[in-house]
Structures are given as structure tokens and as C-alpha cells.
Amino acid sequence: MRRFETATSPHLPPRDSVPALMRRVLYALAPGAALQAWHFGWGVVVQLLLAAALALAAEAAVLVLRRRPARRALADGSVLVTAALLALALPPYAPWWLTTVAVLSAVVLAKHLYGGLGYNPFNPAMVGYVVALIAFPRELTQWPAPHALAAPPGLDMALGLIFGGAQLPDALTAATPLDHVRTGLAMNRTLTELGAEPVMGRFGGKGWEWVAGGYLAGGLWLAWRRAIDWRIPSAFAAGLALPAMVAWGLDPDGHPSPLFHLLSGGAMLGAFFIATDPVTAATTPRGRLLYGAGAGLLTFLIRTFGGYPDGVAFAVLLMNMAAPTLDQLTRPRAFGEGR
């Protein structure tokens, strides 16, 4: 009699893994991140490294405190994705302590206090971002001018700005396109006038539109590789662009075009990388359509009527809250179930 190991079906070797999924997300972020670094300088790189180091350290510390095996959880790569998203969302020359606050809020508060990977109801990166935004609104508006307008700071200067407490010289700052349009419209200027100014590019803002294109490309690759569900970014884009189209059609001088909406601020990053975070999104197919559309619509509403220039972070967090309900309301009809 020969003996064998026992196991349960299915027996096939694994097709995919969480670390591979996370790695794919990181790869897909690369083109957008590289363009962001090209247009806004070394600060982007420094923030990415700083956030990654902080996030790994914070996760390791919490895991030790929670008496969980640290190595495996660190290796799943999820905390690196959170760190990368946060670093790309924060202004590139934000001081180190601001990044620290944001990363700790994301990893400790939003992720591990809820039980760690898979259990957090809110997107950790967006919680970190919103904490920073609400606590330090001024620092969060300090975006450098894109490459096309002024040569971005070099590595030395970037380190000085982030770690040395230096201020970004006025010559190197510029309002973000969303900010520019928002304050301009508030001063009763028309979009025709605003569009002629140097910060504005062909579709969105100078530089910004390229970065958005980078995220779009990476995101499309992710959707093609099925690492993310195409429904969420598509619905997000529709939820943002359709109301924008209506508003723009009615009043082209008072509302920016749908394309401007899609290619400015965090829209592309949000649609493909943030709203698609599976842990905090809806999980049913129809639920995901509603979830994405809701996040897009909320982004439009906050941008148009809210107190902040961009609304992706709030929109995603609000939809995170709605996700369980959406899931419950959109259970698909099972095979053979009565209609």
C-alpha cells in the first residue's frame, strides 16, 4: 500500500497571487510616475522612496505589535502600493513630516486598525491624503510649476525642500490647473480667458495632461491584464465626463470641458488606481459600475460646487462607505434563479 498526501480540490497549481497582482499595479504606475517626475522634478522620486520606507517600517511595526508574521504581509506588496499612491498624490516638495503623517494615517489608522489587508473599509492612501489635506491645507496646494514653465528643482534642492524646511521659491510654484480654473471662475473670468494662460495645456494643464496620459496608459494595461476590473475606471470616467459634458454644453465659458476634467488633478490616477482598490470597492459587477459612476459623479460635484479644487479623494472615500450597500443591492441573479 502506497500512501499519499491529502488535499482538497481544486488541485491545480496557482494561476495568480496577491503579490503578483500588487507588483503589476506598481509596474502600471511607472509610466505616470516617470512623467510626473519629469514634469515636476526629483521631489516625486524622493517622496516615493520616503513614503515606501515609512510605509514598510510602519507596517512592520504594527505587525509586530499585533503579533502577526511580518515577513509574509510585507512581501504581499500592498503597503507599497498604498505608499506609491500617496506619494504621487501629495505635492512633490511637501515637507517630510507631512508625508510621515499621511503615511502613518494610511497604514496604521486606515489599514491596520481595521484588521490589515482585506479588512479596511476605506482606501488607506486616500485616508492618508485627506488627513493631510484637512490638517495642512496650505502645504497641500504647494505644487511646483511643470517643466514647460520652469526647470524643476534638482536633487539637492529637492532634499532641501523636503527635509530642510526650505520653501519652494515663488518662481517655481504655479497653481494647479484645477486651482487656476476654480479661482479664475470665482473671479468671474471666462474659460476662454483662463485657457489662454501659460499653465493651461492642450487638453488639461501643461505637464499635468501628460502625467494623466501616463496613468491612463498604465491603467489600460492593468485592465487588459485583468488586474483591475474595467468597469470601475470606465464608469468613473463616464460619471465624471457626462455631467461635465452637460454643464460644458450649457455654459462653455463657465464650465471646463469633460476632457479637461478627465485629464486634470487626480482623475486618471483615481479612476485606474485608487477607485479600483478591490478591498474598498464594491465587488459585484453591477455594483462596480455604480461605484465607479458614483465616484466620478461625486468628483465632478465636489470640483464644481465643493470647497476643494479636486474631489477624487473625498469621492472615493464616500463611495467606500456605500460599497457594502451597493454589493447587497446588486447581487446578480444566480444561474437558474427565478427572474
Partner: protein
Amino acid sequence: MIAAVVALGAVAAVSGALLGYAAVRFRVESDPIVDQIESLLPQTQCGQCGFAGCRPYAEAIARGEADINRCPPGGEHTIRALADLLGRDPKPLDPERGAEKPPSVAVIDERLCIGCTKCIQACPVDAIVGAAKQMHTIIAAECTGCELCIPPCPVDCIHMEPVPVDLDNWRWPYPEARTENLA
């Protein structure tokens, strides 16, 4: 002032009428609470709860005189179901009442049985057959495992045996997840 009072009064009257109508129209006919409680108990009639059977225990729970954690044969599952029904918090089994055991049935050692019929009188579900001076035997399918037949036996010929696992009652085990990774 008067308008406000009248308006509020009208709202209250309409709401009250609606609620009253709804209460009549949508009334859910439900079993009396005692029956509902009893239906959750395992019906072993073992008396480990301190009452003379499942029905008396159900009545005591319904009157609020007994807690929901006094039923060892029902175990955690029954406590949970009772907590659900009564809107209370589940609590661990009262250790004074005994511990949850694997399901068992009583077996009579037929060589020792003297046919005294004492166990027959003790069995709450008439699962023991036999007559005076005749050997007794237990209908395993009807035995609830209450153990009430054991103390009366003068020759200690009854013992409990766990119900054997076969293809019919085998249960798929709870997947042993490496929980340290999961929570």
C-alpha cells in the same frame, strides 16, 4: 400658535392612523414565544438545564426566569440561535450545567441486564424496549443521548457510546486556515 398645535395634532393623528392600519394590515402571525424557543432546543429532555425537559426550560426562558446558556446538548449553536431569537447577546455555556459533548447514544450491555425496567421508566422518549425480567435494548435511532437512564440502572449495564461517523453523517471539516495570516 393654534395653527401649529392643530397642524401637529393633525400630523400625529394621521401618523397614528397609518401606524394603526399598518399594524393590523401587516401583522405577522407568529408562534407564541415559548413554541419558538422550544423549537430551537435539541429535545434531548435531559434536564441538564435544571428543568424537567425542554418545554419547561423554554417556558422558563420565556418568563425571563432562566438564562439562555443552560443547554449543554444544544451547545454554542443553540445559544446563538436563542440569542438571535430573543435579541440578546450570546454568552458561553454555563459550566455548572455541563459541557458540550459529541453526540452519543446509550447502549445496554445485554449480558448484564437483569430486566428491572427502571431505565424504561426513566427514558423521556420511550427509546428503550423490554419488559420485566426480560432483557432491555435501546432503539439507537430514537435515543437522544440524555443519559437519564444511566443512574437508575442497578447493575450499571448502560454506557454512552459516541454516534459512529459514517458516509451519511460525515461532515466536511472547517477549513483549517492559517488564521495568523487572515485576521
